[in-house]
Symmetry: C2
Subunit: 343 residues, 2 copies
């Protein structure tokens, strides 16, 4: 690890591109004096944004030209094969060449996973990388994986996800033995589909702080730190909650906008409503980790704004500081060889 | 079908029992002059509640004694074999004997499914019954199945769920061709786990109004009428949204209770907050259907209060009026024999 974390930013990725990514980079440079950023993408477009924000390149902020872009709906395999000079690929290469410590992209998730996996390679002991995100809960936050990288998972995959999730949560949250739960439809041992039933003994016999099966509502009630599931279930759980949260928000807005009287009430209640809005602001949790790779790759939501994108950069910085891939490798090695881990 | 719908109520089922179920029955008798109810369970306990509410039995309200109860955590197979005189079993038997048209229970879900399946039998063409519920969406409501009866599903199971869901939605909502979607992690055809990929062509080649893959957030945005998934995914999606809704509610409460000033605001905003609360009141959607059986069984939430339980009785009444099992059988027969359905 280099002394100052260096983050390679896929400046072209996401629904909006440089307008968001460059502004987010500027925000981070103000917040963190010890971080260096490399903006990767079409030089002209990046420079337009730098001028707009009145920022000059320096030893802390450089631009790396890349002539191509991966489209949001492009087939991952095609992007990997054909777009050798895409902003995403060049940013990933910078990390592989040791010129940066982590890559952040708001681009095509499948392409980011496929390209990172191809370039970085997976850690020894990991069959498949997984996507982990942080979600709010009533007491703090919960880590959850996989969120969609792996749809059909074996019990070994689920076990590896548990190890990766536990190690990462432990490192980024500074806690010793995060509580790990396996997502299921009941807490009794007879419940569940074939995979979770097969994964249960592997987890019980591990030295993870495995607390057993957890249910969907446990993700948000603070009873578990790391929730493990296959990517099909994880993605549907996450999208379902996004849908219901949006609906609740819309209902609330409609009730406060119903008539002049309710609008007046909304005006009076503004300080509370603002505090509430801030509290449920999902942008704070932007930045999902592609775990199980030899280097650090962070996926931002495609529709992230400047603030949200800066949070994803922060996740990358934190994982660099905590040497997350090295910790996972050490813990996995210890599990495989029955020795003690260094992380 | 009898002229007045007769509903057998498992009066002992649920976390609370007769205090809730008898009161809910009383509420329904006031609302619906054309409905008859049979309260099944410990006669003494039911009579205490009837006295408390100052209600007399009549030709519209009778009590059927049953000496046993199924515990909420009892193994379904054990309940089925050993508890022949449980309130749940006796209520189900009343339907089978033609003395009632539908059963409602807030008891042990697994036992209700196992016993209903054993006594009623499944419809021809249905391999496994499924649990369907109604959920709010921004424009109205969505039906979703399976919610947990079947954890490992084949493509044929998913197809049958789609038929049952479509027929039931069509009957209870009075719509001709409800939009049916298959729950997945993306809308592109390359996405999904093995089961949904295998189910897709079956749905595409059917005469259902199949609109393709839908994602978790679509359940709540009004873009689909019937969401089909396996019971593992469905249960986790549902519980996840319950968890996040509860968390949002708690955050809101905390912000309004922060200090004297915010409490004053809460007091002023009370009419709007009440209207909002009513709008997101999940009790309105209580009452899940056990579909695919020859008779009607409705599962109430175990923790339902009087109002919520009365909603479950209403679902039973509606399904009796619409002859839901007969409609499913007719539609399935038509699909299997390529003739036209009578429903």
């Amino acid at each position: 690890m280099l002394e100052s974390p260096i983050i390679a930013i896929d400046a072209m990725g996401g629904d909006i591109g440089p307008e968001v990514t460059v502004a987010a980079a500027a925000r981070i440079l103000k917040q963190r004096q010890d971080v260096k950023l490399i903006l990767v993408g079409l030089e002209d477009k990046i420079n337009v944004q730098l001028s707009r924000l009145n920022i000059k390149t320096s030893d802390r902020l450089s631009v790396q030209h890349a002539s191509e872009q991966v489209a949001m709906d492009e087939a991952p395999a095609l992007a990997l094969r054909k777009k050798k000079d895409s902003s995403m690929r060049v940013a990933i290469n910078l990390v592989q060449e040791g010129k940066a410590d982590a890559v952040v992209s708001a681009g095509n998730t499948g392409a980011l996973m496929a390209t990172s996996k191809f370039v970085f390679k997976t850690l020894r002991g990991i069959d498949r990388p997984a996507i982990m995100t942080t979600l709010p809960n009533v007491k703090g936050h919960t880590h959850m994986l996989d969120l969609g990288a792996n749809v059909d998972c074996s019990e070994d995959n689920l076990f590896q996800f548990a190890v990766m999730g536990s190690v990462t949560a432990s490192a980024v949250d500074n806690v010793d033995n995060p509580r790990v739960g396996l997502l299921n439809i009941g807490s009794e041992s007879m419940k569940g589909n074939a995979q979770v039933k097969a994964a249960e003994p592997l987890l019980q016999n591990s030295n993870l702080n495995y607390i057993g099966f957890v249910e969907g509502d446990d993700i948000y009630n603070g009873s578990v730190d790391v929730v493990v599931c296959d990517g099909f279930v994880g993605n549907i759980s996450l999208k379902s909650t996004e849908g219901v949260a949006k609906m609740i928000g819309q209902f609330m807005k409609e009730e406060f906008k119903r008539n002049l009287f309710t609008k007046l009430i909304a005006f009076i209640a503004m300080p509370v409503l603002k505090a509430f809005k801030k509290r449920v602001d999902h942008r704070r949790y932007n930045g999902a980790s592609l775990l199980g790779l030899k280097k650090i790759a962070i996926k931002s939501h495609g529709g992230a704004d400047e603030y949200a994108y800066s949070k994803a950069i922060n996740v990358a910085i934190l994982e660099v500081e905590k040497s997350v891939p090295q910790c996972i490798e050490s813990r996995l090695g210890a599990l495989l060889e029955k020795t003690s881990a260094t992380c």
